[in-house]
Each structure stands twice: as structure tokens, then as C-alpha cells.
Amino acid sequence: MLPDDFLTYLTIGLTHYLVVGAVLFVTGLFTMMTKRNAIGILIGVELVLNSAGVNLVAFDRYMAPGRVDGQIMTLFVIVIAAAEAAIAVGICINLYKNLATVDVDSARKLQG
């Protein structure tokens, strides 16, 4: 009933994590491209950044065990995400004060 190479299905490798990362990446992109709420776009950015984090840690584990560069990079990614979120929320609040909305599509006076 089970296929012969069933065990290989159970061997979780690098590729598995990378595919999870890729899914996070494209869902993040999709979120950024379709959400009209500025905060929604930020949430998309967080997803994409997390995909990079997953990749980094997975590579660190599978490709360079013992070296910590990947994990440190992940830490910096988290820090940058936090910093970006802070600035972004500030900008969103600023936008809200000026436009009374956070709909990014209503911010289209600058164009052409």
C-alpha cells in the first residue's frame, strides 16, 4: 500500500524548507500587490521578510552547520523588519492624518 520509497517522503530536507519559504514569499508579494490598506501591505512585507529568514536558517542548518552567519543574518532581518515597521506605521499614521484614510489607492495625486 505504501510506496517503496516511503522513507524518503519522511526525510525532511532542505528543499522542503525552501518551498515553505517560497510560498511565504509569493503570498507576501500577493498581499502587497492586492491589499489597499497600507497596514495590509506592511503585513505582506513581513511575510516576505520571514521567507528570507526561513531560507537563511534552513541554509544555515543544512549547508553550513557550525557557521552562524545565517542565523546572525536572520537576527538582522528581524531587526530591520522591526525598524521598517516602525517607520512604516509612522508614515501610515501621517498619511491617515492627511488623507483621513489608509487606502493606498486614494494616494494617487502624484502620477504621470
Binding site: 549547508m63 553550513a64 495625486k109
Partner: protein, 781 residues
């Protein structure tokens, strides 16, 4: 004088109008109405004129004492920058041609500046009431700076710099009456048409730079000859285009610049429109100096031209001189008529250059500068006097109201027609210069054998530089009626030998096979020599003779001394200065170019007799042409316009072709506009069948295309190719900006989509190359 005095004087002469320009820009408005103008006259052109006279007098002295050659060889250069590994210099090219051109430009410009003070007094401030007056003189000063700089530049690179500046000034001045729509349109047309030519110039410049590894005019010529002799550099290339070698392309490319500036055949469309500028501008820039810069350029790069390139030059010149003369016949606007006559005369010069009549062409340039400037100033006087009436059919009988203008104009007509008594020394400038071009053309067309030059020069030209120059001097062909012949300049100026010994060795071989000139070119040039007197006489007669046809215009007509005094000065110049003064200088300058391909056509020893003989019969054929032309013109226009009207009816379609200027603008329109419509139609098919699949995504794009085609279709009658190109560019700009919707999400979508497409492409092409890859991964344990 010793040291670099001449260079310094010339350089000061170039800088004075530049200083004048800045002062006028900043303080002009405060100087007030006549003040700014007079300041421009004194600072902008007076100083250069004085310096030019000093240099000229000194230079003639040097010629007589035989030092000119050394001075030329030691002309001052200073290092400007390294372009790559090639040092670029900035400096003054000092030789007889420079001195002659400098003086001519300064003199003509000075007179026109003076004229402008009068012309602008009643004219300029009709727009907005501020600044305009001083601005005009500021532009004129800037133009003076650029033009003089162009003349003295020793490096092709700086020649190009000033070339562009001259174009910019022309743009400003054509568009001076910007409040009239056609003036700004004409300015843009001129600018863009010139850019087309400059594109070729730039290609030529690049080729000179990369192949000859120098930008200095003299060095380039030397390298060119060396490379030919050794078969290296530009002559080593196997590259051909339209059957032209790289060397020919270089020559043609450089000539393209001249085509733009000198308004030669396919790029001539801008010059008639440029008459929208003030009349002094037309006289200075679009008749006497700037448009002649193209001829000057060809003269300067003559030594870089291959025989094929020169044949191209001759063909373009020949087409221009014929076609434009015919259009001039039917013009009724006095300035347009003169503009077409300018085009035709420029064609003569270029044609002369192409034939190898280097001296004659430059000589024609100078004589033409005098009489055409004068003619334009006369027309300016007429227009100003007649209350801005430019249509000749509405004038007539003005000789009583403006006698000075009338008779100076008549002198100009005589000069441009080449009036003179055949076989004698009596004649006006145009008589000698045009006939000489034709004589050379005749020899090239009928008595020239391929390899002729080789044959003769092999025997005679191989002395030292000095000897060959002297020898050439002795036998240099001179017109029978040359007034300077025997006055001693010829023998003494040979002293320096112009450092051309290098040329003597290689020139025998470089252009061993100069082809014959096609006969039709010669006959077209002869034919035009008969047409020119006709249309000039027609213009004069319609304007000044007969009875007044429009009483209102007639009553208003007047002339003022400030404006006609320069006319008189120029008229005297037409008689005397152009011949007495300039011919020997150009003759001398020709020695600098004698190692070039075809100056030998006039200088080559064995052809002296041939050309002389040609001239013996040509002088009756062509020398009398003006009488024929005059008689026909007077016969037709003697009794008003009725007879002309009858002829016009009879000519029918021919007349239409000429009035429509061979449908040139229309053809450009057709090619560009209809081409765009075709593209739009294809795009619409695309709309209908493919875009619909992506309905919403493509909505904006579709709308854009529709508008795009709409603009083109609706404006089917856009004025000329220029607007077509401009609109297409603008529309392309619109299309490019389509994604800039203002919605940041769309930005991201678009950017990501492009990135994704790129990634897909990379993967597809990468996969093919990756067939054998099993694994990869570099590990640092």
C-alpha cells in the same frame, strides 16, 4: 610681430563678444533702448573688427616678408585634457583662411550690428515691452562669439563645440518673435533638422578620434595621409556601408554636419522657415556667416575626404543649387526668394568643394557673404519701410521712395548674377568666383582622366615641400582677369612651405583614381547660372521698378540713414574688398590644403591650360548669362504682373511643384505621419484580437493606443516631419509613463511582473545550458 601676438589678438577678438553677451544679459535692460544696442555694436563687434583689421594688416605684412608659413606652423596650442590616451588641445588655427574669414565675419557682423540698431529701434519692443531689445543684442553678441570661435578653432572638437553654440544662437534668434507661432515652430524645425546633421558630424568626429587618434585639424590630416600610405588605421578596416569604406564614411559623416548647417538638399527645409527671424538675423546668420560655416567646415576637413566622399559632396551640392534656384523663381515673399537664392548659392559652394575647386568655393563664400548680406539688409530696409509687408506683388515702384536701397540692391543683383564683361578684368565678385567653379567642373567632367593626378603629379610634385609649392605657385591657375595677378604676393608667400612636405610624398598615391565628374552635374550648374539672374532681376524689378501696386505700402515707404549706411559699406565691399583682399589670402591658404585630394584640380600643373581653355569659352557662355536672364525677367515683368500670371497659368503643374517646393514637407509628412498611422492600425488590430483577452489589464493600454493613433490621425496635417517626430516622441513618452498610474500597488505589480518575466527567461535559457549539471555547491568546511 612675433611670438603669438596674432593668436592672442584673435583670441581676444573671440572673447570680446562673449563678455559683451554676459554684460548685456545682466545689465542690458538697465542700459535702455539705444544704449544696449550701441554697447553691443562697440563691445560685441567693434573690438573684434578693430583686432581683425590689425591682424589682417599685420598678416599681409607677414605674407610679404615670407614669415606667414612659420607662424602657421608654430600656431599656439595648449593642452586641454586627455581624452582617453589622446591629448586634446585648445588653440588658435592661424593661417590665411582664418585671417580672411575672421575679418569677413567681423566686418559683415559689425555692419549688421549697426544696421540692427536702426532696425530694432522701431521693431523689437512690440512684445511685452521689456527686455527684448537688449536681449537681441545679447544673442547677437553670443553669436559673434560662437562664430568667431568656430573660425579660429584649431581642433575639430572645439570646432564642434562652437558649432553647437552657433546652432543654439540661431535657434534663439529664429524664435525671437516667439509670440508668432510660426517663429517658434521654425526655430524648433531648424534646431532639430540641424541635430540630424550633427548626428552625422558626431559619427565623423568619433571616427576621427578613434581611428586617427587626434582631434587637431592638422594632425588629423597628417595621420590620414600616413595611414593611407601605410594601409593602417582607418584604411585597414574592411568595414563598408552602402559600398563606402570607413574612410569615406568618416568624410561623409563630417559632411553631414555641413549639410545641416549649410542647409543642403535633404536637410534644406529649415532655412526658408528660418526667415521668421528678424531680418538682420537672416542677413547675418542665415545668409552670410553661419550657413557658410558648413562650407568652411568642408574646407577645413577637405584633407580627410576620400574621392568617394567628395563625389557625394558634389552630388549634394549640385542637387541643391539646381532645385533651390528653380523654387526661387516662384517665390513672392522677398525674404523667401532671397533664402532660396542663398540655398542655391550655398549649393554652388558645396558643389565647388566637391569638384575640388577649393579656392573658388571659398572665394565664392566670401563674395557671397558680402552681397547676400547686403541683399538681405536691403530687404530688411524694404520690409521695415513698407510696414512689415513682405509680399513683392504688393510692392513696386519703390525706387523713388528708397533710392539708396534700390541701387544697392541692384548692385547685389548684379553681383549674384555674376555680371561682368567676359574676357576683361571688369566684373563683380560673383562673376569670377562662380565662373571659376564652373571652369573646374568642366575640366573634371570633360577633360579629366582617372589617374590624371597621379600621372602629372608623379613627375612634378615630388620635390621638397618648398620646391613643389613654389612650382605650384608658378603654375597655379589664375583667372585671366585676376586683379592681383603679378602684384607680388604669390612668390613671397611660399616661404614657409606650410610644413606640408609630408603631404607631397603621400599625395601622389592617395588619390590616384579620382573619378570623373558626371556630366549632368556640370550642365545643371551651367543651367542654374542662367536661372539665377532671372529670378534676382525678377525680385528687384517687382520690388523697385514699375508702378506702385499697393498705394498704402507705397506711401508708408521710407528709409533711414542708420540702416542704409551699412548697405553702402557692403556695396563697396562687394566691388572691392572681396576681390582685392580676400582672393590672395585664400590663394595662400590653399597651400595648406594642397596635399589634399583635389585642390590639385585647380593647382595641378598640367590642368592650368585645360582650365584656362575651358574658361575661354565658358566666359562667354556663362559670363553672358546674366544678360539673358535679365532680358527675360524684364520682358516678363516690365508691364506689371499680368504676363507673369499668364505664364503661371500656362505652366500649370510645374508651377505647383515649384510653389510646393517639390512637396518636400508633404513627402516628409507622408512618410512619417502615414507610417505612424500604419503602426496605429496594426496596433488596433492587436487591440481587437489579442488585447481583448486581457480585457481589464489592458484597458489603460488600449485607451492609450487609441489616443495615440487619434493624435496622429486628427493632426494628419501636422506641419512637417518635425512635428511628426516630436509628437511621436511625446506619445512614446506617454506610453512609457503608462505604468506610472499613481497607485503604488500597480507599481509593485508592474515591477514584479517584469522581474518575473526576466526570471522566467533566465530559467528557460539557463536550463539549456544546464543539461549536464548534476549538482553544485561550494562549501567552506
Amino acid at each position: 610681430m612675433n611670438g603669438h601676438t596674432y593668436e592672442i589678438l584673435l583670441a581676444l577678438g573671440v572673447l570680446a563678444p562673449f563678455v559683451s553677451f554676459w554684460i548685456l544679459v545682466f545689465f542690458g535692460p538697465k542700459m535702455g533702448k539705444p544704449g544696449a544696442g550701441w554697447f553691443g555694436v562697440v563691445m560685441g563687434m567693434g573690438i573684434p573688427l578693430v583686432l581683425a583689421i590689425i591682424v589682417l594688416v599685420g598678416w599681409i605684412g607677414e605674407l610679404q616678408s615670407g614669415h606667414a608659413g612659420e607662424l602657421t606652423a608654430n600656431a599656439y596650442r595648449f593642452h586641454w585634457a586627455n581624452l582617453g590616451t589622446v591629448p586634446a588641445t585648445i588653440g588658435v588655427k592661424l593661417d590665411s583662411l582664418t585671417v580672411a574669414m575672421f575679418f569677413m565675419v567681423a566686418l559683415v557682423a559689425f555692419l549688421i550690428f549697426v544696421f540692427s540698431v536702426g532696425y530694432m529701434s522701431g521693431h523689437s519692443d512690440e512684445v511685452d515691452g521689456q527686455c527684448k531689445y537688449s536681449r537681441f543684442f545679447a544673442y547677437l553678441s553670443l553669436f559673434g562669439f560662437s562664430m568667431l570661435g568656430l573660425v579660429v578653432s584649431s581642433s575639430l572638437f572645439f570646432l564642434f563645440v562652437f558649432w553647437e553654440l552657433v546652432g543654439l544662437c540661431s535657434y534663439f534668434l529664429i524664435g525671437f518673435y516667439f509670440d508668432k507661432g510660426f517663429a517658434s515652430a521654425a526655430a524648433i524645425k531648424a534646431f532639430i533638422t540641424n541635430r540630424v546633421g550633427d548626428f552625422g558630424f558626431l559619427i565623423g568626429l568619433m571616427l576621427v578620434f578613434f581611428q586617427l587618434k587626434t582631434l587637431d585639424l592638422d594632425d588629423a590630416a597628417v595621420r590620414f595621409a600616413e595611414q593611407y600610405a601605410a594601409g593602417t588605421g582607418i584604411f585597414a578596416s574592411q568595414f563598408t556601408m552602402f559600398g563606402w569604406s570607413l574612410a569615406t564614411i568618416m568624410g561623409v559623416g563630417l559632411f553631414c554636419g555641413a549639410m545641416g548647417k549649410s542647409a543642403q538638399f535633404p536637410l534644406h527645409v529649415w532655412l526658408p522657415d528660418a526667415m521668421a527671424g528678424p531680418t538682420p538675423v537672416s542677413a547675418l546668420i542665415h545668409a552670410a556667416t553661419m550657413v557658410a560655416a558648413g562650407v568652411y567646415l568642408v574646407a577645413r576637413v577637405f584633407r580627410l575626404m576620400t574621392p568617394e566622399a567628395l563625389m557625394f559632396v558634389a552630388a549634394i551640392g549640385c542637387l541643391t543649387l539646381t532645385l533651390m534656384a528653380l523654387v526661387a523663381i516662384v517665390q513672392t515673399d522677398i525674404k523667401k526668394c532671397l533664402a532660396y537664392s542663398t540655398l542655391s548659392q550655398l549649393g554652388y559652394m558645396i558643389f565647388g568643394m566637391g569638384c575640388g575647386a577649393w579656392i573658388a568655393a571659398l572665394f565664392h563664400l566670401i563674395t557671397h557673404a558680402f552681397f547676400k548680406a547686403m541683399l538681405f539688409l536691403c530687404s530688411g530696409q524694404v520690409i521695415e519701410g513698407c510696414h512689415h509687408e513682405q509680399e513683392m506683388p504688393r510692392m513696386g515702384g519703390l525706387r523713388k521712395k528708397m533710392p539708396v536701397t534700390c541701387w544697392t540692391f541692384f548692385i547685389g543683383v548684379l553681383a549674384i548674377s555674376g555680371a561682368g564683361i567676359a574676357g576683361t578684368k571688369i566684373g563683380l565678385g560673383g562673376f569670377f568666383s562662380k565662373d571659376e567653379i564652373l571652369a573646374v567642373a568642366y575640366v573634371r567632367a570633360y577633360e579629366w582622366e582617372e589617374g590624371d593626378y597621379h600621372k602629372h603629379d608623379a613627375g612634378e610634385g615630388h620635390g621638397t615641400g618648398h620646391a613643389s609649392t613654389v612650382e605650384n605657385d608658378g603654375v597655379t591657375y589664375r583667372l585671366a582677369s585676376d586683379p592681383v595677378h603679378g602684384d607680388g604676393h604669390g612668390e613671397e608667400r611660399a616661404g614657409g612651405a606650410h610644413g606640408d612636405s609630408h603631404g607631397a610624398a603621400s599625395k601622389a598615391s592617395i588619390f590616384a583614381h579620382i573619378p570623373k565628374l558626371p556630366k549632368w552635374m556640370f550642365w545643371l550648374a551651367i543651367f542654374t547660372a542662367y536661372v539665377t539672374p532671372f529670378y534676382m532681376m525678377r525680385a528687384w524689378w517687382m520690388t523697385f521698378m514699375g508702378k506702385p501696386r499697393d498705394q498704402h505700402v507705397y506711401e508708408h515707404a521710407h528709409e533711414i540713414p542708420l540702416m542704409y549706411l551699412p548697405l553702402v559699406a557692403l556695396a563697396i565691399g562687394t566691388f572691392w574688398a572681396s576681390y582685392k583682399l580676400f582672393r590672395p589670402l585664400i590663394d595662400d591658404a590653399s597651400h595648406a590644403a594642397t596635399d589634399a585630394a583635389m585642390v590639385l584640380a585647380t593647382n595641378g600643373a598640367s590642368h592650368t591650360e585645360a582650365i584656362g581653355a575651358a574658361h575661354q569659352w565658358l566666359k562667354f557662355g556663362v559670363g553672358g548669362a546674366f544678360i539673358v536672364g535679365f532680358v527675360i525677367a524684364i520682358a516678363i515683368y516690365r508691364k506689371g504682373l499680368a504676363r507673369a500670371e499668364a505664364i503661371r497659368k500656362a505652366a500649370g503643374p510645374l508651377h505647383v511643384i515649384l510653389v510646393k517646393k517639390y512637396f518636400f514637407d508633404e513627402v516628409y509628412n507622408f512618410v512619417w505621419v502615414k507610417g505612424c498611422i500604419l503602426v496605429a492600425k496594426i496596433a488596433r488590430l492587436f487591440d481587437t484580437y489579442i488585447i481583448d483577452l486581457f480585457v481589464n489589464l489592458a484597458a489603460a493600454f488600449t485607451a492609450r493606443l487609441a489616443t495615440f493613433s487619434g493624435i496622429i490621425v486628427d493632426n494628419g496635417g501636422v506641419d512637417g516631419v518635425v512635428n511628426g517626430i516630436a509628437n511621436t516622441s511625446i506619445d512614446f513618452g506617454d506610453a512609457v509613463r503608462q505604468p506610472q498610474t499613481g497607485r503604488v500597488r500597480n507599481y509593485m505589480l508592474f515591477a514584479t511582473a517584469v522581474a518575473t518575466i526576466v526570471i522566467i527567461c533566465v530559467l528557460i535559457f539557463g536550463l539549456e545550458a544546464q543539461e549536464t549539471v548534476a549538482s553544485a555547491g561550494s562549501m567552506v568546511p
